[in-house]
Amino acid sequence: MIWTALQAELRRELTQMLRYPTELLSEALVTGIIFYGIFLGSSYMAGGSILGSRLSEIIVGYALWTLMLGAIGNMGWGISMEAQNGTLEQVCVGPLSLRAIFALRSLANLLYDLLLTAMALLLIIVLTGHRIDFSLLEIVPFILGIAVSIGIGYLVASVTVLVKRSNQFLNLLQFLLLFLVMTPFTDLKGPLRFIAVIVPAGPQMGVLRHLAIGQSRFPGEAMWLLLAVVNALLWTFAGYVAYGRVHELARSRGSLGHY
């Protein structure tokens, strides 16, 4: 059942995307242009020398942020629209819980967002002839970062189901996340470092940052990787539990739909 449901989500997402190719194209174009801007900017500032390193850090950070944006979009605006249209309640009536379906939706969306980002990146690389070296090691913290975005997706879904119209909140959240993802909290000293552990994807970004500057060995590497796992679990779990609570509250208030 999970499998047919995941297929259904993937197919629905793809069909809706392809039905309006201009939207898809403009989205891909914006991502491409931003990546291109990052390339130009960094090669201008660095004069080409440390390009490979700083650059991939920025790109990885930006990629992670766009994935989180995707999660916000789908779990925020997407759900709020479906609540108004009535499809949310229709989806709810069936053998799978809404929470399970949301997990599948997050996965489906992540997959497409990843694909889109990868394609934009590839295009830039081909066009500019630049090379960026991603090490295989970067994949681990990146995936742990994606896990965080699923958790954030659930949290956004929780807020949306509770208040329905959450536009300002979502707008704000986008930039808050950009700030959190791009700030090197792991470089903080002393007890303040604790912030890096709990900030969404904090340790993940720390590890990525170090890997990107070419330090495949850095102080506390194992510890930060472990903390990245903890961080990923923490956010996913928090989102999952929060959504469960909110769903019951909405059922109790009779406000799953548009009342």
């Binding site: 259904a8 629905r12 809706q16 009535g86 309640e89 009536v93 059922r251 208030r253 009779g254 799953l256």
Partner: protein, 315 residues
Amino acid sequence: MLLEVDHVAKRYRKRDGGEVPAVRDVSFTLESGRILAFLGPNGAGKTTTIKMIAGLVRMDGGDVRIEGRSIKGSGRVAIGRLGAVLEGSRNLYWRLTPLENIEYFAGIRGVPRARARERGMRLLRLCGLEGKAGETVQHLSRGMQQLVAICSALVHEPRILLLDEPTLGLDLDAADRIQAQVARLAREEGVGIVLTTHQMDVAEHLSDEVVLLREGAVVLHGLTQEVTRRLGGDSYRFELEREPGQEQLARLTGRGALFDSPRSFRLLLREPRDFYAVLRDIEPIGVLGAGRDTADLATVFRHYVGNGADGEVQP
């Protein structure tokens, strides 16, 4: 028993701290292949009850069992046995075609794609929509959208179908098509159907049983035919020479009179001698005709719901 609704109750808590007792105490059962019309005035608690059965609203008390299994707790299996089309006009993904919608709803309910397509095409054909299978839903008429929503709710072959105001806002032709499908589902496929409606002719035409709700409680429950026949003996029809005045009108509607034209009405009498009371009410207007009549569901409805028409059903 296919569906057992067992003393369900629901109070909504309002933002200001007050409470709305939307459903006080509702019980009924439904067997396969039967159609139950769930009637009641605005705010009687019909939608709330439907949503409690579908697990969308949490009940405060009572229980709902589907094929003997409670929907409470790990009730997803039980809820998987039902399909529902809820109030509202847009229960579909507007950017998708009817078939894509059906496939999607099938998928999230565990139906493999090939079977979903096959069954989806069959359902669309039965609704006369096979020609529209490839158009996006947003370009279909309201009636067609409603039919597609029903098909989407049926694709996993549920044993129970809940329909909240399925013919609301549809023209006669579209409403007829929906009614035909509902009847077919019950008769040919043995689906048990609960539907709410404000259109008494729809309820009378389709339903085997009626449950009449008022202020969150059941005031009448019976076979549609029996309800109308039993009360038929007390049903009278009056035809007047001219239209009654404000005051007379108020008295008559207070008794549950249902006007089918400005100068003629039907009502149910509690006792035969109330006939003379009605005559006093309309005095001095001339009476062109007065006599017994067969009751229709609308008259029955008015009798139980009309303002204070019946002392027994006062809360």
